[in-house]
C-alpha cells in the first residue's frame, strides 16, 4: 500500500479518532488517504487553530492529540502550538508535509526546515528519510508523546516518500534505547518522604499539572491525614476545590492563604510541579523554612530551580499510593497539625478572595466568572485564553475534577482558548464546554468559529470584554506610572455581528442583575454561541505578588 495508507493504519492502531488539519501541496497524498480512511478529520481555518485544538483535545481527554499541516507556511503556522505543547507537557503528534526529497535544501517551493525550526521546542522530531521508516516513526512518535513527561513530537514527511508503495506490517515492538523513562519511584526515597511528612508540623502539598492523572491518588494522600493542598494554575482540579483542605491556587495571583502557607511551611511536597517563577516569585526568599520532597517524572526538573531534599522520580500515580501506605503505616499523630490548621484558618478568614462589586448594573469581571460558575452549575469544561480573564477564571471557577480547566500556562499563548475549546468539545462531546476569553485573545484565532459552525462543535464563548489588553494595562498601571501604551483595543470588532457572520449565535450582555439567567440561556442555545460580556474596563487582578517580591509581600 502507499506509505500514506500505512500512515492511516498506524493512526488507527494508535486509537486516533480525530485529527485537526489543513491540506496543501506537500501533504496532498496524506489528504488523499484521509478521503476514505475512516478517521475523522476536522478542517480548521488556520494550522495554529488545529494545533491548539489538538492540545485542547489532549488536555481534556488525556489522549494524544494529532495536528496536520503542509510544508513551509503550514508547518511554520504550527510553531506556536508546538512550543505551547512543549511548555505545558501536552502529548500531541504533529504531522507536517515536506517538499519532495530532491528539492530538500534547494529553497524549493514552500520548503521550510521544519525540523530545524522546531528543534528546541519539541520532545522529539524526525524527518522521514525512507518510506519504510514511516510506520515505525509514527508509532515511536505516539509512544514518546504519551509516555514519561508528555510532549510534542513532530514527524516531517517528504511528499514523494509518502506516495511510495510499501509493504505494511503492524508494529508492536517499540524499543528506544536512549529513551527509558523512570516511572516507578524509588521505594527507599518514598519511605524517606513518608517519614519526613509524618514528622512535619507545617506541611503543604504543592501539586501541579503532573497530577492530573493522579487526582484520586493525590486526594487519598492528602486525606489520609489533614494535609493542606494547593495547586498551580496547571494543576487546578487535581484536588477538589470544594474540599476543606483546599488552600486555593498558589503563585503570583494565587490566594494569600496558599502563598503564606508555602512561606511558613516546614515541608513542601511538590508533585508534578516545576517551581515556575510565577510560583516561587523571588527565588531566594521562596519557602525559606521548608524542606522539599519533589516527585516528578522528569529528572531534569529535580533541583532545577529549588534544591530537593528528597527527590522521587516517576509517575505520580505510581508513587502516591505507596507514599500514602508508608505514611499511614507510621501512624502519625494528627493533632500535631492542629496549630498549623489554626494558622491556615485564620488566613482564610482574614483574606478570602474578594473584590468590590459595583453598586449599579455594571458587571465586574470577577462576578462574570462567578455568574458563569452558577449558570453552568460548576460542571463545565472551562477553556481559557491568556490575560486577566484567565486569572479570574482560575480564581473564581472552582474545579472539583481534573481536566475541567484547560489553559496555556507556560507559554501564555493568546489565541489558545477558542481552538482548545473546540478540541475539548470534540474529545468530550457530552460535556458543556465553555471558553472564557478576552477581547484581545479571542481575535487571535477567531477564524475557528467557522470550523465550529461547520462541524456543529458546540462551544460557548464568553468574551470578558474590557476593551483592553487588560493584563498589560494592569502592569502599566501598577509598575509603569499608568502610561497606557498600546493597550486600548477600542470597540472593535462588533463581536455579535462577527459571531453571526461566522454562523454562530451572538449575544451582548451588560447587566449584572440578569447575567446568570442570560448566561443560562446562552448555554442552552444550540450550536456555537459567542457572548460579548461588557465588564468594568480597569479592574485589576488581586491579590498579586509584585515582580521581584517574595510571596509574603502580596498586595491587594
Amino acid at each position: 500500500m502507499r506509505a500514506v495508507d500505512a500512515l492511516m493504519e498506524c493512526l488507527k492502531a494508535e486509537g486516533v479518532d480525530v485529527v485537526f488539519g489543513l491540506p496543501g501541496g506537500a501533504n496532498l497524498p496524506t489528504y488523499d488517504a484521509f478521503y476514505d480512511a475512516g478517521i475523522r478529520h476536522i478542517l480548521v481555518r488556520h494550522e495554529a487553530g488545529g494545533g491548539h485544538a489538538a492540545e485542547g483535545y489532549a488536555k481534556a481527554t488525556g489522549r494524544v492529540g494529532v495536528a496536520l499541516g503542509t510544508s513551509g507556511p503550514g508547518a511554520t503556522n504550527l510553531v506556536t502550538p508546538i512550543c505551547d505543547a512543549m511548555m505545558d507537557s501536552v502529548p500531541v503528534v504533529f504531522l507536517t508535509g515536506q517538499v519532495r526529497t530532491e528539492l530538500l535544501g534547494t529553497d524549493g517551493f514552500q520548503e521550510a526546515d521544519t525540523i530545524g525550526i522546531t528543534m528546541p521546542i519539541v520532545k522529539h522530531s524526525v524527518m522521514i528519510q525512507h518510506p519504510l521508516e514511516l510506520p515505525r516513526a509514527i508509532h515511536e512518535a505516539f509512544h514518546i508523546a504519551r509516555t514519561g513527561r508528555p510532549g510534542p513530537v513532530v514527524v516531517d514527511i517528504p511528499t514523494d516518500l509518502s506516495r511510495a508503495d510499501i509493504p505494511y506490517e503492524p508494529i508492536t515492538d517499540i524499543h528506544l534505547p536512549g529513551y527509558q523513562p523512570t516511572t516507578d519511584g524509588n521505594q527507599k526515597q518514598i519511605r524517606l518522604a513518608a517519614k519526613a511528612l509524618a514528622n512535619a508540623r507545617r506541611p503543604v502539598i504543592y501539586a501541579g499539572g503532573g497530577t492530573l492523572d493522579a487526582s484520586a491518588e493525590l486526594t487519598e494522600l492528602a486525606t489520609s491525614d489533614r494535609l493542606p493542598v494547593t495547586c498551580t494554575v496547571m494543576g487546578l482540579g487535581a484536588f477538589p476545590a470544594s474540599h476543606p483542605q483546599w488552600l486555593g491556587m498558589l503563585g503570583m495571583h494565587g490566594t494569600r492563604t496558599a502563598n503564606y502557607a508555602m512561606d511558613e511551611a516546614d515541608l513542601i511536597v511538590a508533585i508534578g510541579a516545576r517551581f515556575d517563577d510565577r510560583v516561587t516569585a523571588k527565588l531566594s526568599e521562596f519557602a525559606p523554612h521548608a524542606k522539599f520532597v519533589h516527585i516528578d517524572v522528569d529528572p531534569a526538573e529535580i533541583s532545577k530551580n529549588v534544591p530537593a531534599h528528597i527527590p522521587i522520580v516517576g509517575y505520580a500515580r505510581n508513587i502516591l499510593p505507596r507514599l500514602t501506605a508508608e505514611y499511614r503505616a507510621l501512624e502519625p499523630d494528627p493533632s500535631r497539625l492542629d496549630e498549623w490548621w489554626h494558622r491556615i484558618r485564620s488566613w482564610q478568614e482574614r483574606y478570602p478572595l474578594s473584590y468590590v462589586d459595583s453598586t449599579d448594573s455594571e458587571i465586574k469581571p470577577q462576578y462574570m466568572v462567578q455568574a458563569l460558575y452558577e449558570a453552568s452549575q460548576g460542571d463545565a469544561i472551562v477553556c481559557s485564553d491568556v490575560g486577566q480573564h484567565q486569572m479570574w477564571a482560575a480564581q473564581h471557577y472552582h474545579f472539583d475534577k481534573p481536566r475541567r480547566w484547560i489553559n496555556s500556562g507556560g507559554l501564555g499563548t493568546m489565541g489558545f482558548g477558542l481552538p482548545a475549546a473546540m478540541g475539548a468539545k470534540v474529545g468530550c462531546p457530552e460535556a458543556t464546554v465553555v471558553c472564557i476569553t478576552g477581547d484581545g485573545s479571542f481575535q487571535m484565532n477567531t477564524q475557528e468559529l467557522a470550523t465550529c459552525a461547520q462541524n456543529g462543535i458546540d462551544v460557548k464563548v464568553f468574551i470578558m470584554n474590557n476593551g483592553y489588553l487588560g493584563m498589560v494595562r494592569q502592569w502599566q498601571e501598577l509598575f509603569w506610572d499608568r502610561r497606557y501604551s498600546q493597550v486600548d483595543t477600542g470597540q472593535y470588532p462588533d463581536f455579535v455581528k462577527l459571531a453571526e457572520a461566522y454562523g454562530a449565535t451572538g449575544l451582548r450582555l451588560t447587566d449584572k442583575h440578569t447575567l446568570v439567567d442570560d448566561m443560562r440561556e446562552a448555554l442552552v442555545t444550540e450550536g456555537p454561541v459567542v457572548v460579548d460580556v461588557r465588564v468594568a474596563p480597569e479592574e485589576n487582578v488581586y491579590p498579586m505578588i509584585a515582580p521581584g517580591q517574595p510571596a509574603r509581600n502580596m498586595v491587594g
Binding site: 525540523i115 530545524g116 528543534m119 528546541p120 520532545k123 522529539h124 524527518m127 528519510q129 514518546i144 513527561r149 528506544l176 534505547p177 536512549g178 529513551y179 522528569d298 529528572p299 531534569a300 529535580i302 533541583s303 532545577k304 502592569w475 509598575f479 509603569w480 506610572d481 515582580p547 521581584g548
Partner: protein, 185 residues
C-alpha cells in the same frame, strides 16, 4: 538587580555581573549517541540555549557502528552543568553521558602546527619538537608542519613555545577522552 517587568533601570555592570557565574572548572563531557541525522545539532543547540560556550568538540565512531561518541570540553558552574546533562539525557537519541572527572580520565588531543622555519631557526624549532615528541610531517623551504598529541595543556604549552618562531597556521581536534581503569566511559 533591577526587577523584571518594572521600569527600574538596569546598569550595564549589574547585567553583566549577573551572567558571570562560571567557575572556570573545565569539564570534559563524553556523550554516546545513536548515529542518526541531526543529533549533533540537537546537542550543540541545547548547550547554546543554556548559555554554555563549547570550547572543543570531537565526534567519531565507536566500536559499535550504530553509535558515535561526542566529546566536548567547556567551562561551567557545577550546578548548571548538571542541568544541561539532565536536559541532554532527555534527547531521545542520546544513549549515555559522562561529565568526566579529570583525575580519572585520559584525555588526548591532536594538533598540527605550521611553523616558519627558514635556515636560521630550523634546528631550534626541531629541538622544541623533539622535546614535545612532536612529529615533523611536512617540510618546505620556509615552513615545517609538526604533529603533536597530548593533553590540551601540553598542546597549549607547545603553541606558546613555537609562536615566537612564527606560527603560520594551527589546527586542533579538541580533546577526546576515556576513563582510566576498567570502568566504561
Amino acid at each position: 538587580m533591577g526587577e523584571p517587568g518594572t521600569k527600574e533601570i538596569l546598569s550595564l555592570e549589574e547585567l553583566e555581573a549577573a551572567g558571570s557565574f562560571r567557575t572556570g572548572r573545565k569539564h570534559i563531557v563524553s556523550i554516546l549517541v545513536e548515529n542518526k541525522p541531526g543529533v549533533l545539532t540537537r546537542i550543540t543547540g541545547l548547550f547554546a540555549r543554556r548559555g554554555f560556550n563549547i570550547d572543543t568538540l570531537a565526534v567519531g565512531p565507536t566500536d559499535d557502528e550504530t553509535v558515535s561518541r561526542i566529546t566536548l570540553t567547556l567551562d561551567g558552574a557545577v550546578q548548571s552543568i548538571d542541568q544541561v546533562t539532565k536536559q541532554l539525557h532527555k534527547l531521545i537519541n542520546v544513549l549515555k553521558i559522562r561529565d568526566l572527572d579529570p583525575s580519572e580520565t585520559m584525555a588526548r588531543e591532536l594538533a598540527l602546527f605550521k611553523i616558519s622555519a627558514d635556515g636560521a631557526n630550523r634546528a631550534e624549532v626541531m629541538q622544541v619538537c623533539e622535546i614535545f615528541r612532536a612529529k615533523i610531517v611536512d617540510v618546505s623551504k620556509r615552513t615545517l608542519v609538526a604533529e603533536v598529541t597530548g593533553t590540551q595543556e601540553k598542546i597549549d604549552a607547545f603553541e606558546r613555545l613555537v609562536r615566537p618562531f612564527g606560527l603560520v597556521e594551527m589546527a586542533r581536534t579538541g580533546e577526546i577522552a576515556i576513563t582510566r581503569g576498567r570502568t566504561e566511559t
